[in-house]
Subunit: 195 residues, 2 copies
DNA sequence: GTCTATATTCTGATAGAC
DNA sequence: GTCTATCAGAATATAGAC
């Protein structure tokens, strides 16, 4: 979209972040140039540097904002009914990630492209998110041999939904949530037993 | 490592692939230059083109070879005892992926950077691998609401091991295999039941 | 705040000597 | 088969006009 010279700081900033999010998710951070982002926004490349000091910071802030939003949404569980909390966590994780496919993709794929300090900060936020699930597993009488492993296994399983789920496919998101909750429930449920 | 002029085709080819595998896994396909690969191998950049027509083909062949090797190793299960086959699959997937961390990383992260025809070929191979697990789930009397979803959930869960497992850590690989098998067994086991 | 123009470095790939 | 040299273009980031 062509643009004329003028003052648009109030809307250009969000548009830069949105364009970067979209392009980084599609093609990868390293494969996307500042020129491509500028073209998507409809400005010249120099204008981008009013909104980010450099490309690396742009990536980092997208990832950080996503992780903070995820974390803020995740810590609202009541923590008094572990089974209900676990179910809520499962449904929440699937829904939240479904609503933000680009941010999820970047948060999992572009860790390699973060400079060490930025990487450490994102990893710390990820650890906090894992701790939410871990504390739910700790609070309940779940049949879990190793809480840390169960945490990582469940999160990996749930996050995997975003690699194949498409709205309008064979299953609704609700049906997917239902089935994953059933699988998680059985995985950590008290019945265990022999086969 | 500096090299002198001469004929080394018998060893340079594998060294090019090994260097590309390593660098692509560390930094991402788009972030790695042919010059970096050449430096890692110890040749000048022009020499690389004796072994690949271009960078894209180098990536594609690494991914294709990995998927073919994975598939060949996976179809050896007997298919007559579903529960044993499922356990073997779980242990196999974890061990195989643990032995090839760079190839696994690339196979899951660099799909975006494949040209359409190459992407289709890799996706087909991935589908065949998923079909191996799906047929095991089909052969047994497993308590699975949707076989396709269970297949994808299990593979995502197992593949996630490679994001955190490190030899010499708190748990041995055997212990990890054991715990994942226990989780998968409960997830698809016949006991199901209420909570 | 955005533009145009530019500095500097790097990119994938090729040509031809040895 | 590897080297050196090179092409043509693209990369990030900056400077200064408006």
């Amino acid at each position: 979209m062509a643009r004329t010279t003028g003052s648009h700081s109030d809307i250009t900033g969000p548009r830069v972040r949105a364009a970067a999010l979209r392009l980084f998710a599609r093609h990868g951070f390293a494969a996307v140039s500042m020129r491509q982002i500028a073209m998507e926004v409809g400005v010249q490349v120099g204008a981008l540097y009013n909104y980010t000091p450099d490309k690396q910071t742009l990536l980092f802030e997208l990832m950080r904002d996503h992780m903070i939003e995820l974390l803020r949404a995740a810590v609202t569980f009541p923590r008094d009914m572990p089974l209900a909390d676990l179910e809520n966590f499962v449904r929440f994780h699937i829904a939240f990630h479904h609503d933000r496919p680009d941010a999820v993709f970047i948060a999992y794929m572009e860790l390699r492209n973060l400079e060490p300090d930025n990487f450490a900060e994102i990893e710390a936020l990820r650890g906090q998110y894992e701790a939410v699930l871990e504390s739910i597993l700790e609070a309940g009488r779940f049949n879990v041999a190793d809480r840390k492993i169960a945490t990582l296994a469940i999160i990996a399983m749930l996050t995997g939904v975003s690699t194949w789920f498409r709205t309008g496919g064979r299953l609704s998101l609700g049906a997917v949530q239902e089935q994953y909750w059933e699988m998680v429930r059985r995985m950590v449920g008290p019945e265990g037993g022999s086969v």
